[in-house]
Assembly symmetry: C2
Homo-oligomer: 408 residues x 2
């Protein structure tokens, strides 16, 4: 492995020259938030030697060149809402936070594009688009605090990916600082651009390893006028999950098809201190549809209701949007409230294999005597399995987690 150098006093001085004294942090108190992401546990934490907060692509380019000259590792960071330690500086060195690149550069309503810097929150982009009658279709559960730069760097999925695809599908161009410290723009507002290799799509999901994103060209779509949410409650896991492919092929083009197992429903109920329907024994499938015609949505609700009831649902309810999504989006937070330490697994399988995958996960949990909570995006075969440490002793936990991971 490449031998890296430590950050010298001279490098600190040079970093201060690039971004200004107040945007260079070297004391641990100030660096603590930059030493971990949303995963708790000391093994997932590492302090950098220095944190810098540039404001422009040019400053980032200068930082990258400086790091290259001095052979110092560099880790770009968005809002730190990740769960896979992509923003944790395990080799120490320099953390480059994009939090000051937080401007919406342009809202182009004619071409239906929004051009933003990486430090804008996903939620703010959504609200800005909505205010002009457009939809930004990226919707990760962490969207109220995650940065769009992190969404792009990790190709975030989320609740609307079933209909609109993951983050990569909304992106048509990037400006980024290359590992050599050059500012490069690829793509832009051309919707169809098939000349040459599509390199900017390669950057999406590369978690900062191929460059530091400094500007993002996002395609918007006209905002649907209406949306409806159905909550179908099933008596068991298998009948719940096996309904999903039937909904997906029914021609209703759902925006979301989400799953919550019964343990998750109960845990969210405890966390929110709000009664959730059939929480004693129900497995949830949440279906969101949207469109411009209310009658069509009502017809689609009837179709979905019929499919779910024919597949063994206990009941199908028209759900209050804010209430049901509050429950769905609090899953990780509720798990954290129950057990600060948990292993967060992110399974992706073909849609038809979701039922089998979830059953296998539950079985593994039982074998090792750990509590496993499954919920996720059943419509695109993506299930989150949170394995809770609770009061399992530290040494036993470290023995269990890698073994259960091996079986996946």
């Amino acid at each position: 492995m490449q031998k890296y150098n430590s950050v010298s006093g001279k490098v600190i001085y040079q970093l201060k020259e690039i971004v200004g004294d107040k945007y260079v942090y070297t004391d641990n108190e100030k660096m603590e938030p930059y030493s971990h992401d949303e995963v708790a546990g000391s093994e997932y934490m590492q302090y950098p030697e220095v944190v810098v907060l540039p404001e422009t692509a040019e400053q980032i380019a200068a930082i990258v060149r400086l790091a290259n000259e001095n052979i110092i590792p560099i880790v770009p960071r968005g809002a730190g809402t990740g769960l896979s330690c992509a923003a944790v500086p395990f080799l120490r060195g320099i953390v480059v936070s994009v939090e000051r690149l937080n401007k919406i550069i342009e809202l182009d309503t004619t071409n239906m594009f929004i051009v933003v810097e990486p430090g804008v929150t996903t939620d703010y982009i959504q609200k800005t688009a909505n205010a002009s009658g457009f939809l930004y279709a990226g919707d990760p559960s962490s969207g109220d605090s995650s940065f769009i730069g992190g969404n792009v760097a990790t190709n975030a999925g989320g609740n609307k990916a079933v209909k609109y695809g993951t983050t990569r599908r909304q992106i048509y161009g990037l400006e980024f600082v290359s590992p050599q410290g050059k500012i490069i723009t690829l793509g832009g507002k051309c919707v169809k651009d098939t000349t040459g290799y599509n390199l900017f799509q390669l950057l999406i999901g590369s978690e900062g390893t191929l460059g530091i994103i400094t500007k993002i060209y996002i395609k918007l779509i006209p905002l649907p006028e209406h949306s409806m949410n159905l909550l179908a409650i099933f008596p068991d896991l298998v009948s719940a999950i096996q309904t999903v492919p039937k909904i997906m092929s029914a021609g209703v083009a759902p925006v979301s098809v989400e799953f919550m197992d019964n343990l998750v429903v109960q845990n969210c109920e405890d966390f929110l201190r709000e009664k959730l329907p059939h929480s004693d024994d129900g497995y949830y499938i949440i279906v969101q549809i949207e469109g411009n015609n209310e009658e069509v949505l009502e017809d689609q609700c009837v179709t979905i209701d019929e499919i779910c009831m024919a597949s063994g649902a206990i009941t199908v309810l028209v759900a209050d949007s804010s209430k049901i999504w509050k429950a769905r989006k609090c899953v990780a937070e509720a798990d954290r409230a129950r057990s600060l330490i948990f292993a967060s697994e992110d399974l992706v399988v073909p849609m038809s294999a979701v039922s089998q995958a979830v059953q296998k996960v539950v079985e593994i949990g039982k074998k090792y005597g750990v509590r496993v909570h499954c919920a996720g995006h059943a419509g695109d075969g993506n299930v989150h399995a949170n394995i809770l440490k609770e009061d399992i002793p530290e040494d036993k936990w470290h023995e269990i987690v890698p073994q259960s991971a091996k079986i996946y």
Copy 2:
């Protein structure tokens, strides 16, 4: 540049061992169809030294390894319906045709995937999907003869890309033979797969330079039950094109928004020997919408009609689907009938710049005294400009074409 070797008698013998005697062509008569694509003109033609027709990925891998060992250039080929010479073996060597890899491997209706070999025609995939109630959304104008392998290798766009995106958006996995002659599978039936770099998307659009595609995982969508086509006719170019962004942001999610300038309308009329409406002075915008509810489609037609009339349309007609698309899809063929030699340019600009781009192209045509036909996918900012040679003398033509290209 790498110095390549010629194909020796020994290599021909080894190729015959790999694919069988009858699938190795070395005489010019048999190799002629493999010496060019759809572009006419001797400068766009080159005979390979040998054409091989393998039947499996393993055979292709063996051919690639053989070519590597002997330092012989290799060019993969689909149906040869391209217009940019990607399949023309300018360095001679070996052409590998995938025409015998022509099987549909699997139609998975539960996960809504079709898995195919590269030599299946786009049209056959569409028909197979339709027969089971699904839609394959790729729809290049050459679809009745183009191979899906070529669509993927060039990231073909087409008439439905406005709503469904180009070919890359339909693809979730590829098997391919690497330049080292290894068979590699990336992706598959997982709709959401964001682990690691997305390398198979890099292959899409790489025109055979990064590998030879041998298997393709294509996502299908439920087939919309109804579709409608509107033909809006405008008195001039600018009012026609400037209507497009208004249609795009109206929330009707059109499948196609196509443009044909008046010269193109007249030329297609002549070619088809069928009267087209307002062919004497009309500029066409064709809008296709689709969905499961006829009333909604009718409402959307009213919306589109109102937008077009308010933007200066002469008339808006509900068009006969087969007739209007026959006209739209015959553009290149009609141009070829008028002038066997023509330069086919493929412009992509932001949607708002289409009008300016087309006007500029027409202006350049006038400056050089050449006939220019513009038509294309206005909804995604992609315009085809065919510059017709007609009776311009050969030497003058070769002087004009590069000059006009420089101005783009």
